[in-house]
């Protein structure tokens, strides 16, 4: 079984806060982490390898320091790591990103055909969930998003069965291999590496590919290959808010005053009385 995982290094968005005084972002000391969904993807691939044998290759596109995420994947049990790094890749939107990752998967596939590509459902910095479907479309392979369980992977019969989220519930669906899956967090728990494995992962070689090694078409890469552009970035507007009633002392008076004010408000009163 030839398994490929696409992962991304992201800033830990939970640490990002807004300074209410200046209305600017406080991001000092924000660390880079591996996108949590992608770690689940790597673990899922390692579990499949445990069931059927095979190799797990992890790919990431990013600056040289994204290597840290590849080493984390290696420590979990991935066999091979490929860093796609080139100034030409910088500034890629989801279309250019899926093209670059596709070119890398295509290159790996020429060495040995790829059975499954596994990605996280989305990255926590952009939350777009577009790169996985982009890769599947370019590969022309089966696409299963929001996967919560991976069932049988039948390489001889050329089929994979998964459970995935669908509107109002879930479905079990079977499709042809090769396939691209994007996974939900609940699919599996990431099993943290032991110390010897961590050390091995630090020593393991990481393959680096640039635009030339991918034989990629330059106009389809990075900023040049990105149809979407950012016009403006701003902090969400902070509103002033309406009247406040201080109930820390004399709670009843404050609450009664608030209820009176609420019932004076046509929208609130309209809803409450109708109900």
């Amino acid at each position: 079984m030839n398994l490929v995982c696409c992962i991304k290094q992201v800033p830990d968005t939970n640490d990002v806060k807004i300074d209410p005084e200046t209305n600017t972002l406080i991001r000092s000391g924000v660390e880079s982490i591996t996108n949590p969904y992608d770690l689940v993807a790597v673990q899922a691939a390692i579990d499949i390898k445990g069931r059927y044998g095979g190799t797990v290759t992890v790919i990431t596109m990013g600056p040289p320091q994204a290597e840290a995420s590849l080493r984390e994947a290696l420590s979990l049990g991935a066999d091979r790591a490929v860093l796609l790094s080139d100034r030409a890749f910088a500034g890629a939107d989801t279309l250019a990103t899926s093209y670059t990752l596709f070119k890398a998967i295509d290159k790996l596939g020429r060495e040995s055909p790829v059975d499954l590509v596994i990605c996280g459902k989305q990255a926590i910095d952009g939350d777009t969930a577009q790169v996985g479907p982009g890769i599947a479309t370019r590969l022309g392979c089966t696409q299963f998003t929001y996967v919560t369980e991976i069932g049988q992977v039948d390489r001889t019969g050329g089929r994979v069965t998964v459970r995935r989220k669908a509107e109002g519930g879930s479905e079990v669906i079977v499709g042809r291999l090769p396939a691209m899956l994007t996974v939900e967090l609940e699919l599996t728990k990431v099993k943290r590496a032991s110390l010897p494995r961590l050390i091995d992962a630090l020593r393991a070689p990481v393959t680096v590919w640039n635009a030339e090694s991918l034989e990629a078409e330059a106009p389809r890469l990075g900023l040049k290959g990105s149809p979407t552009w950012v016009r403006k970035i701003f902090s969400p507007p902070l509103k002033k808010g309406g009247p406040r009633f201080d109930a820390r002392e004399g709670a009843r008076v404050a609450v009664d005053a608030c209820v009176a004010a609420l019932l004076d408000d046509a929208t609130f009163a309209g809803h409450v009385l109708k109900h």
């Binding site: 972002l25 479907p133 696409q143 079990v172 950012v230 820390r248 019932l263």
Partner: protein
């Protein structure tokens, strides 16, 4: 202002101001910016002085004056008439259990708005099997023309057949904008269609507008977990694609008298054997509550995350005709299930009444509830950001405040006192 030998102005970072967000490093077309000790650093040998970094910097930590060059985002000015040959604002009408999804109608409403600014028409794309009635409904909600692909192979949603059908419609009809609801299927579909058409796609937009001069769609969305808003545009590729979550825009009035054209197109399925669904499990009715459907939500936050108070919150929900929902920490504590979570990683809601109890109001939460008609916040911390979005606030301990609130509300409701 630093300049190089050719006197090109170079951008400079003010390290004290830099917050290490990496946006500049991402946008730099020549990769001249790298992060050193959490602060951006510009390589003067590689910098071409385009000024893109200064444009995206959210904290103005990049010194760059434009004397000779225009801002990068505005340099490539398109033809004011948009891209020739493409016309109309299209909405993908999603079919859910034989009915048009309400998010699709919300988007038709928004599309009317956008089409009005551009002086063009609203198109409905209806794909599925036995969808005649839904095509008629699309006209009633505001489409001028509806394009239909009706085929037994499209009876259930599958990525590739639907991706092919919708991208084929785009190739034939050539809309300049395509809007898709950010449902599970919609998000799956949009990535496929944008890749086939090699066009730009912006996910989960919370605001859509038209730059009337350039005739382009301005798509605003939260990014970095909802901490920054970004306005994105797609100038040279068509259609400009955007997904929007349910309840972001208002449902328009339905007018059954509205007339328009319905055009049928044949389906040419993609090559290869499609996947087959072998089992479908519906969440048991009642076991899973859809919080987006209730007119009132009582929302417990981290500050009110205790099992003992739940009956009290349910009582308040009963009085106001709603249900109990929560913020992310409450789900993480295991007190309430994920489907009750409001916010960036949960659901976007827009009820008539939103009563936030012990919710601090992290940006990630706020982006999921700002569309609520009336927001009431109860919190012991007067500095809590939730008060900034609340129409009414009570500062105090919820364990004391909520019982008093319920009593007073019931008393007033019984006596029929009200402002209207």
């Amino acid at each position: 202002m630093a300049t190089d030998k050719k006197r090109v102005e170079l951008a400079e970072i003010i390290p004290d101001k830099c917050i290490g967000c990496q946006l500049c490093a991402g946008i730099c077309p020549v990769g001249a910016i790298e992060m050193v000790d959490g602060v951006a650093r510009i390589d003067p040998a590689a910098c071409i002085g385009c000024g893109k970094c200064a444009d995206v910097c959210p904290v103005e930590s990049i010194k760059f004056e434009r004397k000779k060059r225009k801002p990068a985002g505005e340099r490539k000015v398109g033809k004011p008439a948009g891209v020739p040959g493409y016309e109309g604002v299209a909405v993908f009408v999603e079919v859910l259990e034989g009915q048009g999804a309400s998010v699709s109608w919300e988007l038709v409403g928004k599309a009317r708005d956008l089409a009005g600014k551009m002086g063009t028409t609203v198109l409905g794309f209806v794909v599925g099997h036995e969808v005649e009635e839904i095509a008629g409904e699309a006209l009633a909600y505001g489409c001028d023309d509806v394009h239909v692909i009706d085929d037994p192979l499209l009876g259930t949603y599958l990525s590739r057949p639907y991706g092919k059908a919708v991208s084929d419609l785009c190739t034939t009809v050539k809309p300049e904008i395509l809007l898709i609801g950010a449902t599970l299927a919609g998000r799956d579909l949009s990535g496929v269609v944008a890749t086939i058409l090699e066009t730009g796609l912006t996910a989960d937009c919370t605001g859509l507008d038209i730059d009337e001069e350039k005739r382009i769609l301005l798509m605003t969305r939260p990014t970095f977990g909802g901490n920054i808003m970004a306005t994105i545009f797609c100038e040279r590729h068509r259609p400009q694609m955007s997904t929007v979550r349910p309840k972001v825009f208002r449902l328009p009035e339905k007018d059954v008298e509205r007339k328009g054209g319905i055009h049928r197109h044949a389906f040419e399925p993609p090559a290869g054997e499609p996947p087959s669904v072998i089992e479908r499990v519906r969440d048991v009715a009642g076991a899973v509550v859809d919080i987006t459907r209730f007119p009132a939500l009582i929302v417990a936050g981290k500050g009110a995350c205790d099992a003992e108070s739940m009956p009290m919150f349910q009582r308040l929900a009963g009085v106001l005709g709603g249900v109990v929902a929560c913020s992310r920490p409450v789900v993480e504590s295991g007190l309430l299930p994920y489907e009750r979570q409001v916010g960036q990683t949960g659901k976007t809601v827009a009820p008539k009444l939103y009563v936030a109890i012990g919710v601090s109001g992290a940006v990630q939460h706020l982006v999921g509830m700002q569309g609520s008609e009336r927001i009431v916040a109860i919190n012991s911390d007067p500095q809590a950001p939730i008060f900034g979005v609340a129409d009414f606030g009570i500062i105090g301990d919820y364990k004391i405040v909520v019982p008093l609130f319920i009593d007073e509300l019931e008393r007033k409701m019984k006596s029929g006192a009200g402002g209207t």
